[in-house]
């Protein structure tokens, strides 16, 4: 019975995705993004000539032929039905259509290229208009006229290839700490940082140092706000620089003033592990509890599951920022994106302030009406 279950899981004639293993494709993450994001994030690999080659190659590729035709040959009765609507087409016609499709692709590609340039230009202008100049006052000034700001902000980060500017783990940590600084300045108290492979979770000490030094850059080393870094998966919390011995030992000096009392921002680090797998884990635990009669199936309600998942992962964010070229949720915990507003800039590939502030602006203008 189990076997049968596993079989039905395979989507009918779906092609399993293979992991890319070539040198020139940036091996950044184990995540397979959706087509558009994959192509746009590919970097130099996806040059125009390469795209052209890819597009033209479909003429000769037989395996691209839709399966519906081959599967219909299996039984004769079906085939006849198809012919009624003239759907079964000849070899010549098929090639003709493929040729037209390539033409269509090329036209679309040109259009998309124009769009890409337009978006890039727009982003450049935005980055001039919205500039934080490493000054928290300016960020706060940008936020003050907004009608509302989100209570909890989430951001999806991704590692860039080591060779690029801002690439590698250091780049990722830097991006994370920048977002922390903006969030603190904007007055938002909860931030969820998500990265697919959990690199942030694995580099917590470095991250805390990075955040500290970046906050010092914004606020001055005497006024570094307090922050708490939380890993919901292993249920650990770290406060500011507690427990880390720095060479200059700034932590002790600041310890005297009373700003220390209050934590200005709480940062949760999430990874792919907190997504589907956590929900399945929860199911498993519930099954065990049910087996020893501590819980009955009728007790499993929306409220219970929701509160458990809030415990395990955290509350639902209000706004999700993504700093990539095309929306790619990368396995962000599914339970938690119910009403979350998404914001990303098309064809953007950097962690920049204009995305952050424009995201907040969109949120301020949005109207949520559950069901109505």
């Amino acid at each position: 019975m189990i076997k049968k279950d596993d079989k039905t899981m395979e989507p009918p004639n779906g092609k399993p995705h293979k992991k890319i293993d070539r040198d020139d494709v940036p091996e950044s993450s184990n995540h397979i993004p959706p087509p558009e994001a994959a192509v746009l994030k590919g970097g130099k690999v996806n040059s125009k000539t390469r795209a052209f080659k890819a597009v033209t190659s479909i003429i000769v590729d037989a395996d691209e032929e839709p399966q519906k035709r081959s599967s219909n040959e299996a039984d004769g009765t079906k085939k006849q039905e198809k012919e009624y609507w003239g759907n079964s087409i000849g070899k010549f016609e098929y090639i003709f259509y493929k040729f037209l499709l390539v033409m269509l692709y090329i036209c679309f590609g040109l259009f998309r290229y124009g769009q890409y340039q337009y978006h890039k230009m727009k982003l450049r202008i935005f980055s001039i208009i919205y500039n934080h100049a490493y000054t928290p006052q300016l960020i706060r000034q940008d936020v003050v006229p907004l009608k509302k700001i989100p209570k909890r902000l989430a951001a999806i980060l991704e590692i860039k290839p080591v060779g690029d500017v801002g690439g590698g783990v250091t780049g990722l940590l830097n991006d994370a700490s920048e977002i922390v600084c903006w969030t603190v300045s904007a007055g938002i108290e909860h931030l969820m940082l998500y990265d697919y492979d959990g690199l942030l979770q694995r580099n917590v000490p470095e991250l805390r140092m990075e955040i500290h030094s970046n906050l010092a850059k914004y606020f001055g080393s005497a006024h570094v706000p307090n922050y708490a870094v939380k890993i919901p998966h292993s249920n650990k919390t770290f406060y500011s620089l507690d427990g880390i011995e720095t060479e200059t030992d700034i932590g002790n000096e600041v310890g005297v003033n009373d700003e220390r009392e209050k934590v200005a921002i709480e940062i949760s680090l999430l990874s792919n592990r907190d997504g589907r797998e956590t929900i399945v884990d929860l199911t498993r635990t519930m099954a065990e509890l049910c087996a020893v009669n501590e819980l009955s199936v009728s007790d499993i309600t929306m409220g219970l599951v929701d509160s458990e998942l809030k415990q395990l992962v955290g509350p639902e964010p209000d706004l999700l920022l993504y700093f990539g070229p095309s929306l790619d949720l990368q396995g962000f915990p599914p339970w938690h994106i119910r009403l979350t507003e998404f914001y990303w800039e098309k064809d953007n590939d950097e962690v920049i302030y204009s995305v952050f502030i424009r995201g907040l602006r969109q949120y301020a203008g949005c109207k949520v009406n559950v069901g109505k």
Binding site: P11, G14, D21, P66, I337, R338, Q362
Partner: protein
């Protein structure tokens, strides 16, 4: 300079008048334009051209890669009705019509499965009249679809309809009707339509959690629950795992509790600013074309070989250059090395 209050009031009134007349004028102009446009389109030449171009485009795209599972969030029916000053019911009817049209196009493109968010569990909090209207409309459309799916000559022939969601919230009479329709169309396996009625994704996950737990209790082998098994328990059978393309109309950039499990990993999510009844063939076509275009490139990159490499692979092995491992000392001696300083 201070404006006297009487003049001020007059000014406000005047401005309001201007705004109102402008609004009315815009509405009339829009109506007129639509009527003229409709008239032109009704000319037989134009409609002939339109149908033929559409057919050609569909045929062309259907030879390329197309998504397997396309999903729609049909948002904007009420705003549509409001903008045209029609009763809300008309808006929903127009929306239903759009869905049927797009369904046929998807089927011809080779999409295996379409799902649509017809009614959310949260929608029960709408005014009762509207809920009733929606329910009525739904049953009517359901019967219509069932009839068409069984009609040999109809374009939707051979499709299967499944209503997914929390049925315990529906009236018994309704449930019977749904079961009936599902039974009639059971045989179709070319194309599946999932209507999410009353559905929320969290409810779907909860339902799956419950079923998994129940199964686990009955299972004597104590096999572990894993993601695959969990996904199989969800409403949409084997389309539960992934939805390649999710389209949401009318401008909101959020999922509103729909398809969370299916969409959160590597699906393309498209947001469109048009209202659902206005969502046309070309808008959808462009989205699928975009998906198809990028998918072609992605698959090409994954397949990891160009046409040349493929031909090279096909060559008999004798013709290929072979690399044999060799020790460094087997090489011929390099030329004599001389330094410019003249040292030995």
């Amino acid at each position: 300079m201070k404006v006297p209050s009487i003049i001020h009031i007059q000014l406000i009134a005047l401005r309001r008048l201007v705004v109102e007349t402008r609004e009315q004028f815009c509405f009339a102009a829009k109506n007129m334009f639509q009527r003229i446009f409709g008239w032109i389109m009704s000319l037989s030449l134009f409609s002939w051209l339109y149908v033929n171009i559409q057919n050609l485009l569909i045929e062309v795209l259907s030879v390329g890669p197309v998504p397997e599972h396309v999903s729609f969030i049909m948002d904007g029916n009420r705003r549509y009705a409001k903008s045209r000053r029609l009763p809300v019911k008309k808006g929903h009817e127009a929306g239903g019509l759009t869905l049927l049209t797009l369904l046929y196009i998807c089927k011809r493109l080779g999409v295996k499965c379409v799902s649509a968010y017809a009614f959310s569990i949260e929608n029960f909090s709408r005014p009762k009249e509207e809920v009733d209207t929606l329910m009525n409309l739904f049953t009517v459309k359901l019967d219509e679809f069932a009839k068409r799916a069984n009609d040999y000559k109809d374009r939707l022939y051979g499709s299967k309809i499944r209503i997914v969601g929390d049925r315990s919230l529906l009236s018994p009479e309704m449930r019977e009707r749904i079961a009936n329709v599902e039974d009639i169309t059971k045989g179709g396996d070319d194309f599946t339509l999932y209507i999410c009625f009353p559905y929320t994704s969290r409810n779907d996950m909860l339902h799956s959690i419950r079923d998994s737990v129940r199964d686990q209790l009955e299972d004597k082998l104590h096999s572990r629950i894993n993601i695959k098994k969990f996904t199989n328990k969800m409403y949409m059978d084997f389309y539960s795992n992934k939805c390649e393309l999710l389209i949401r109309t009318s401008g909101h950039r959020r999922l509103s509790d729909y398809m969370l499990w299916q969409v959160h990993e590597n699906s393309t999510i498209e947001f469109s600013d048009t209202l659902w009844p206005n969502f046309s063939f070309f808008a959808m076509y462009l989205m699928i074309l975009k998906w198809s275009f990028f998918c072609t490139i992605q698959r090409y990159n994954e397949r990891n070989h160009s046409l040349f490499e493929k031909m090279y692979e096909g060559l008999p092995s004798i013709l290929k250059r072979k690399k044999t491992p060799m020790s460094l000392y087997q090489f011929p001696n390099p030329p004599i090395s001389v330094s410019i300083t003249g040292e030995e």
